[in-house]
Symmetry: C2
Subunit: 401 residues, 2 copies
């Protein structure tokens, strides 16, 4: 049985994700699609709408065969570390291919770009450093440097966000996997950042979330797969709340107002004295939106600040992040019958152990994920739901479809 | 003008406090009564019902002439450090007497007890250590040791809470003041811990708070001075909320679930691995009451745990508490016309500087108090009231009656 790996966040699972999963199976000629998915906190430094278990269920009910969790220390990260963690997990789980969506839609320009970069890496790094000295953020500096160096030779437009992310997968595969072959499919319609829910078949996750918070879950019924709608609707009925940064604002404000700048400095990614800026803004903001608009600059992007705040909320320190270089386990969030068959056949060949049910033995390995689950739980205003969520990581078995 | 000092918390100011202030003036034959009052957090490790400025106003409108704030590092402390801070401030402000309420009601037994203790200090300390080895809390061990050593010779029953607290004032005066003469008046009627609001003239602060949270401010109207009722009523109308530990439970739970035991150990009074016990209870409690009942033991008294939680909420560390041995300023919360006259006459003789309006120059000195004020603000669920309270320490001028 051939398995294709995909890297996802599903916040929430939508029609574009459905298409991506289906096409990945087809173009790679695989029987199995394995998704590596961010847990309760996402790459752009945001709490997910609903927990990882429910997001895995959406995907499994729409045809994905197995969902593993991308641990926090790879998920809430720059694209390069995110890609490295995901590729290592897919490799460990026996995938022979990876398939990602990109604006470009063809794999050759990615391969060619990788060769160009390998040939000119010192020049590239020099250029990026120069651009950052001008006050640009890393993503902006990298995009500008790629453009200056490779524009004439490359067919790949790395200013497009999904081309850039895909290129990180290509790079990670090149370094960390001997057996994975990369594929890409054309990303259609909505851009990630699109905020309006249009009438096309595929709406962006951003526009779907916005619509849900403005008009309720019912309003997106026709824009998402049935599985997504029913999981969202049931979850909201049971828990009374979907989560976003607003639910965590008071915790962030409390931390910033009661900790010294030097103690805040031990938090991962808290660099260049940005904690002084965060404290000043926290003293003078009534909600998360006000706070973010006070903090954001050209250099400190929205995403970078959100990631810092996520580490602050979960008390994730530089010290512990520096001691985690490679994934140590495959945390199984769920599977369908075909996924189970694949696992039974091949799991002995996996190069990482599978964790299906968390127990005390896993404390050490999964410490950050467990803590992130508990921090996530604090977003519920209902103390009973909060309590359920605090123990959820330990009580949840994988979702079986 | 002779000034008498009193040490108070006023949570809230009630008829017994009124009697105490009036009698203190009479028995010491003073023109001025100066109160040193705990700030937003109290000696027993609790957030006050309402901020220090409003509590000072209640007292000033009932005849107290000047209110100074007892800084956090002396207020949220064992009785001996609490008494030391208060006596040093009263001495610095020129008081020639101190007057406290006690169950005993006569000063001679206190003086005699002090002499007895001075003569037998090593034996006393040895006994207290022995009692603590049996698992007793410090207050219980001290009470038992005093009883065993001095019962036959002393007329003072130190098992009575106000006798014990008064005895701390006597001890502090003996060590830290040459000019203060101690007086005591008989404490009548309700004990501090009484929870039922009875029909006598004097109701305990505990019973008044309980009644307010159960039945609203209106229900205590006839049990408190008019000034207290009107300040409470107005404050509640403006802020929609009086504060207690329930308002801070989610912050405590968040801190306990996202910090490592070793990082919690830097918090003041976090000793003997009690952080493990706190974390375990936080994982399994839906509210503050449940949590406290899980944590409390014979050795870890309710008060001791609450003080630890207050330090946790304000991130007050062992390191900073150890570096603060003596009050550095007199923070003026308010005064009446007579208080102002006294100040104009004598403030040049004061041995500590007066801070009336906080500004950037005071940051270093008042760092813990400013932080405590901000932590206190986080208890308001309304983000606009929270914001007002965050800056209140800087924006408030002293209350002038």
């Amino acid at each position: 049985m051939k398995a294709c790996g995909i890297v996802v966040e599903y916040n929430p699972f939508h029609n574009g994700h459905q298409l991506h999963a289906d096409q990945s199976r087809t173009v790679t000629n695989s029987e199995i699609v394995i998704a590596v998915m961010s847990g309760n906190f996402l790459q752009r430094g945001e709490p997910a709408l609903l927990p990882k278990q429910e997001r895995a269920e959406m995907a499994l009910r729409s045809g994905v065969d197995i969902v593993f969790e991308l641990p926090y220390q790879f998920a809430v990260q720059h694209a390069s570390i995110f890609a490295e963690g995901a590729v290592k997990l897919l490799d460990a789980a026996g995938c022979s291919s990876i398939c990602f969506g990109s604006e470009n839609g063809k794999i050759e320009p990615f391969i060619q770009q990788l060769q160009l970069e390998k040939d000119q890496r010192p020049e590239l790094q020099h250029k990026i450093r120069e651009q950052m000295k001008l006050g640009k953020s890393y993503p902006a500096a990298a995009a500008e440097s790629y453009k200056q160096l490779f524009e004439d030779q490359s067919q790949l437009d790395l200013a497009k966000p999904n081309n850039m992310l895909g290129y990180q997968y290509i790079t990670a595969v090149d370094v960390f996997s001997d057996k994975i072959k990369p594929y890409t499919i054309q990303r259609t319609s909505s851009q990630y950042h699109d905020e309006s829910l249009n009438h096309s078949f595929i709406s962006s996750a951003t526009s779907i979330r916005k619509k849900i918070f403005e008009d309720g879950v019912e309003s997106v019924k026709n824009h998402v797969p049935e599985s997504t709608y029913s999981v969202l609707d049931k979850y909201l009925g049971n828990h009374g709340q979907l989560l976003n940064w607003s639910s965590y604002w008071s915790y962030i404000q409390h931390i910033l107002l009661t900790n010294s700048p030097s103690s805040l400095e031990r938090i991962y990614e808290m660099e260049e004295g940005i904690q002084y800026r965060l404290i000043e803004a926290a003293l003078d903001s009534r909600n998360f939106g006000e706070f973010m608009h006070k903090v954001k600059t050209k250099r400190y992007t929205w995403t970078r600040i959100q990631r810092i705040l996520t580490h602050l909320l979960t008390t994730t320190t530089k010290e512990e992040m520096q001691s985690n270089h490679s994934p140590a386990y495959l945390r199984m969030l769920g599977m369908n019958a075909k996924g189970r068959e694949y696992l039974n056949l091949y799991k002995n060949d996996f190069t990482l152990p599978i964790i299906s049910n968390l127990n005390r033995n896993h404390h050490e390995q999964c410490a950050i994920d467990i803590r992130a689950g508990r921090a996530y739980a604090m977003g519920y205003s209902n103390p009973i739901k909060r309590q359920e969520m605090i123990v959820k990581d330990f009580k949840s078995a994988p979702v079986i479809i």
